[in-house]
């Protein structure tokens, strides 16, 4: 049971990291990333391939972060002249491309068989016994660190400029903000967080294959963000837990309803996630918690939220 709990909490931490990234990219900067799964895969594969080559965990993780951040910056250039819809299309297409590369470039990625036996960082020191617990603590520390950094960014003038760009890029540009640079930076920072999550994913499972980085990852992350309240990192903690409970809860569904096959249970779960996403957007579009606003009167907060 403890082992199960540790595993669940590790999953939640990974989901929270992905949510953080979306919260910055979408929540703060208004840039939709439908290719989250692809970037996540890039992070995981970069860390895995480098670790297999003998790089230590820290170096491989930093490389994964740099790689994902760099690619995010490049992809976000598609917003050069355009509104957000196009970024959604471009990122989605990017993640499809990533999936194709992961599946077909067998020499690099092992193809559909994936990469197995990825070395875990620091296992020599920690030992196999309590490694899961150690890894969870590592994840929690990283989540806390990322949270602090992101909150700092959100409350900085840079964060304010991002929100200005989100609300109206033309006004922001008129006031002398470099809209493109702001967008690229926001997307790259988000990408860095996704890369970190990807690397952790690879180390935790020690096995990755292209199927793990399909669209459902993106939808889970969106769901966590929307449940928690778009733009709110604190709400996200709650959102990620809700999504995980929903996912894990429905996993037991097939024990109660024996006539479902495993495949049916899996598709039912995905169906519920999709339906849940839509229902929240209809009935509770603001989520549980609202985003940070610099406000003088706390009571006026609800009116300020547009």
């Amino acid at each position: 049971m403890t082992g199960y709990l540790v595993a669940i909490l590790t999953f939640v931490s990974l989901a929270v990291l992905l949510g953080f990234a979306l919260n910055l990219q979408w929540g703060q900067a208004g840039m939709i990333n439908f290719g989250l799964a692809g970037f996540y895969g890039v992070g995981a594969y970069t860390a895995a391939i480098l670790s297999k080559q003998g790089a230590d965990g820290f170096t491989a993780t930093v490389a994964a972060i740099a790689m994902t951040a760099g690619l995010s910056a490049v992809v976000s250039l598609a917003t050069l002249k355009l509104r957000e819809d196009y970024l959604a299309i471009t990122t989605l297409a990017f993640s499809e491309l990533v999936r194709l590369v992961l599946t077909n470039e067998t020499w690099l990625t092992g193809g559909a068989n994936g990469i197995r036996d990825i070395p875990r960082p620091l296992i020599g020191i920690v030992g196999g016994e309590g490694y899961e617990l150690f890894f969870l603590l590592l994840c929690l520390v990283l989540v806390a660190g990322t949270y602090l950094i992101l909150e700092r960014i959100i409350r900085s003038p840079f964060g304010r400029a991002l929100r200005a760009v989100r609300e109206d890029d033309i006004v922001a540009a008129t006031l002398g903000k470099n809209v493109l640079a702001l967008r690229v930076k926001a997307f790259a920072i988000g990408g860095a967080v996704v890369g970190l999550a990807g690397a952790l994913h690879a180390y935790y499972f020690t096995y990755i294959d292209p199927g793990e980085f399909a669209g459902f990852v993106t939808v889970y992350a969106f769901m966590a963000v929307i449940v928690g309240g778009k733009g709110s990192n604190r709400g996200l903690l709650l959102g990620a837990c809700t999504v995980m409970i929903l996912l894990e809860g429905t996993r037991f569904l097939k024990d109660f309803v024996p006539f479902f096959s495993a495949q049916q249970a899996a598709s039912l779960r995905l169906m519920m996630i999709g339906a849940g996403l839509v229902l929240i957007l209809i009935f509770r579009p603001d989520g549980i918690s609202s985003e940070y606003r610099l406000s003088i009167r706390k009571s006026a907060r609800s009116e300020l939220n547009s």
Partner: protein, 286 residues
């Protein structure tokens, strides 16, 4: 080479149907419908149900699938998009992703991931001057062209089409002039359902039915719509032909597994160089 061009035109005509559907809903509702791929899948399965489970010949199964999907599309409009119509277009976009997820997994729930085929007679390909044309390709070309003619007629010659174009241009002005927006939107979704269902049937005819067929075309469809100037159904046809030709001719040089990759590259190039689309006029950004 000529063979690749021929194949390209046929596959372009196929992509054109959902690309038109995407452009129609984009023009009128102002959001990119990401569930267009899942709608294709749903259409293919509806035809499969009518064809393989109820024994309807494909000539009957295809229209049944089209009508049922049109009704489903209207139901989704009322159940989902209408409920959040005051939200920004980004929210609608995310909602359409959720809808796509539900549609795709409903088919997976009932039919699993198994690959199925429609029950149609197999015929020898037509040969002409060394060019090969499958009967399926011929069907695709004929059906897609007829559907385009019908859509063109609706848009240019009927009251509904005028209403649709008016709303696409300026929704408020259209409403002031007495155009019933809700009804026009319903019809747009119906049309979109019919087009995607037909595309689904045609894809299934040429290959197989499985839960991912729609998703596999999603990038190409968006690329086509963007090239044509998204929101412009006539441009979407041209964009689809370009995408079809580029995908098929590139297969001579690049592995066919990277078809979607080619569309991605074309999409990015167009976005960077001519974001309003090859055919779209320079538009004032709002």
């Amino acid at each position: 080479m000529t063979q690749a061009l021929l194949n390209g035109v046929v596959s372009g005509l196929l992509i054109a149907l959902p690309a038109i559907a995407l452009s129609l809903t984009y023009g009128i509702l102002n959001f990119a419908n990401f569930s267009v791929g899942a709608m294709i899948t749903a259409g293919a399965y509806l035809a499969y149900i009518a064809n393989a489970s109820f024994g309807a010949p494909i000539m009957l199964a295809a229209p049944i699938a089209a009508v049922v999907l049109a009704l489903i599309a209207i139901a989704i409009q009322h159940g989902v998009y209408r409920q959040i119509r005051n939200a920004d277009h980004v929210t609608l976009l995310v909602a359409s992703m959720g809808v796509a997820f539900v549609l795709e997994n409903v088919t997976r729930f009932f039919y699993g991931a198994d690959v199925r085929t429609l029950d149609v007679p197999v015929a020898r390909p037509l040969l002409w001057n060394g060019l090969r044309l499958n009967h399926e390709q011929l069907t695709i070309a004929v059906v897609a062209l007829s559907a385009m003619v019908v859509v063109g007629f609706i848009l240019k010659r009927t009251r509904l089409g005028r209403a649709m174009r008016a709303i696409s241009d300026d929704p408020d002005l259209a409403e002031v002039r007495g155009i019933r927006r809700a009804r026009t939107v319903d019809w747009t979704w119906a049309l979109s359902g019919v087009l995607t269902a037909l595309a689904g049937v045609l894809i299934a005819l040429d290959g197989v039915v499985d839960p991912t067929i729609g998703m596999n075309y999603l990038v190409s469809i968006f690329a086509a719509a963007v090239i044509g100037g998204i929101g412009n159904p006539f441009g979407a046809v041209a964009g689809a032909l370009i995408i079809g030709l580029v995908e098929e001719t590139s297969a001579l040089a690049v592995s066919t597994t990277y078809r979607q990759g080619i569309s991605f590259v074309v999409l990015v190039l167009v976005l960077l160089i001519r974001p309003q689309g090859l055919l779209g006029g320079a538009r004032v950004r709002r």
